[in-house]
């Protein structure tokens, strides 16, 4: 057994694997299959200030080696999350990252204020949702706005680590990462989904009712590894990597690129046990290579 534990901006994770926001709800459904305590952490479904119904269906489409989604942040709102979901999650002996999103900076600040007095371990600020018309990606594609929203949210979260989740739908992700670092982010997570589209050629209509949606799954993995590597080299704060990770080998690769922890999304749809298998495969890799601690591989890639 190797040491799989990692420390991300002061928070200890027993292993680096975290189901990504959106695929895992609040964990209730997966608890039927495995104990949540086996996970390094859980990023909860994106929460907004008030309840959101989300976009009309269909909200999902398959793509070669991946998928598109356009859920549009359906959630019960921050108060209900804090009252009914968070207390249950905090009993599960795993790190809880509360993912939050707003359509204005003020909304994000209000949500963060409400969470600041809870026992949640980390906040993941989503400035990159491609499926909502206001806020979302609009914050995450302009370095100045991304920095401003980070500063204002961090201001009300002096005691909680703030992770800012970045969009890949930008010309230069390192500009955004540097800007949120300057704004006080304790870590960044990337990549959110890549904006995509599919059309049913028999009807001439897009498959998604929202026309476009966020692409994830193995197809985006190389793109994600590249962006994690660039970002990890551009900022001093930790990077939580995600995007198409579906095996222990993928997770190791992304950590070599510079990720301190890994989120797993679409792979859970293919195999609900994916996070558990990934943890086991990472352990096997380290054992085979006689590497004592997973932390030793973070950013260990030797570029040409």
């Amino acid at each position: 057994m190797s040491d799989l534990s990692v420390n991300v901006c002061g928070v200890n994770f027993k292993n680096p694997i975290i189901p990504a926001s959106g695929v895992f709800g609040y964990g209730r459904e997966y608890e039927e299959l495995f104990p949540l305590s086996a996970l390094g952490g859980i990023a909860t479904k994106g929460t907004t200030i008030t309840r959101r119904n989300g976009n009309p269906s269909p909200r999902i489409a398959e793509t070669p080696s991946g998928m598109l989604n356009s859920v549009g942040l359906q959630n019960p709102g921050i108060d209900k999350f804090i009252d009914t979901e968070l207390p249950n999650l905090l009993k599960k002996n795993t790190v809880i990252l509360a993912n939050i999103a707003g359509s204005t900076i003020d909304e994000c600040v209000k949500i963060a204020e409400k969470l600041s007095s809870t026992d949640v371990h980390m906040i993941e600020l989503n400035i990159s949702c491609p499926n909502v018309k206001q806020g979302g990606a609009a914050f995450g594609t302009c370095p100045e706005t991304a920095g401003e929203i980070t500063r204002k949210v961090k201001n009300v979260l002096p005691d909680k680590p703030l992770v800012v989740k970045l969009s890949p739908n930008v010309t230069n992700i390192t500009d955004i990462a540097k800007s949120v670092e300057a704004g006080g982010a304790d870590a960044v997570s990337l990549i959110n989904t890549v904006l995509g589209m599919r059309i049913d050629i028999n009807t001439g209509r897009p498959i998604l009712k929202n026309n476009v949606g966020g692409m994830s799954g193995p197809a985006v993995f190389p793109l994600a590894v590249r962006m994690v590597w660039q970002t990890a080299n551009a900022v001093k704060i930790p990077v939580i990597g995600m995007g198409g990770v579906s095996s222990g080998k993928d997770a190791i690769e992304m950590m070599m690129a510079g990720a301190s922890a890994i989120q797993v999304g679409a792979a859970i749809f293919t195999d609900p046990f994916a996070p558990i298998k990934i943890i086991q495969e990472m352990n096997d890799f380290l054992d085979t290579k006689k590497i004592k601690s997973i932390s030793d591989i973070i950013g260990s890639v030797k570029p040409w």
Partner: protein, 257 residues
Amino acid sequence: MKYTQGKYIIKNKSAIAKNTYSYTVRCPEVADIAQPGQFAHIRVDGFTLRRPVSICEIDKKCGTIRIVFEIRGNGTEELSKLNEGSLIDMLAPLGHGFTLNSKFKKVILIGGGIGTPPMLSLAQYYGEKSVAITGFRGAGSVILQEDFKNSGAENIVCTDDGSYGIHGFVTQPFGDILKKGGIDAVYACGPMPMLKKISEMSKENNIANCEISLEERMGCGIGACLVCACKTKKNDEEYFAHVCKEGPVFNAEEVIW
């Protein structure tokens, strides 16, 4: 809700109509808890998303379930290539099934096309107390008729082109039976326009228990990802319910068309 994920052996495979396949799968822990109207979420090699397929028959004694599916695209085409003896990766049984009531004296089961299979497990539960009305495009796509006969249900078949059974839609014999009265429940699965019409007709005839099974593109299959939303009413408020967990079976009165 209890469910499990595993790789199970296909005991029997048959092609029951053009592009339509039936697999009987040995999975005692699934069969033991499965209810009519629930589904299996099936992994297909080479695809990111699982395919939801409704459960057609549940045999608790033999520890098997039967699934019937139609080739709709690349994923179901790949799924159809499995053979007897192959392993099938299923997450099952999932979803909220049909409400069963042993006190009901007469029920109507309506299946449209590939919406027919889940009606068979209901026919096997209600037996002679049920009338099964199934509708298909034409004779070439008629399925499961022997099974419905063996269940004891009164069996009515319609085809759009008149090449088998009654020429016309399922709503015609359904209307005739409704007129006679004495119906305790209506259960239906099939295309949306058919379900909408059946819901309206049931309401007009004051059928309190009309349950319909809906279909939507799905992600996780267990209610976590919120992908398969459908518009419903909850306490008179509009609400996006999820077909995989709160459904696939809904009371017709809850659905906003």
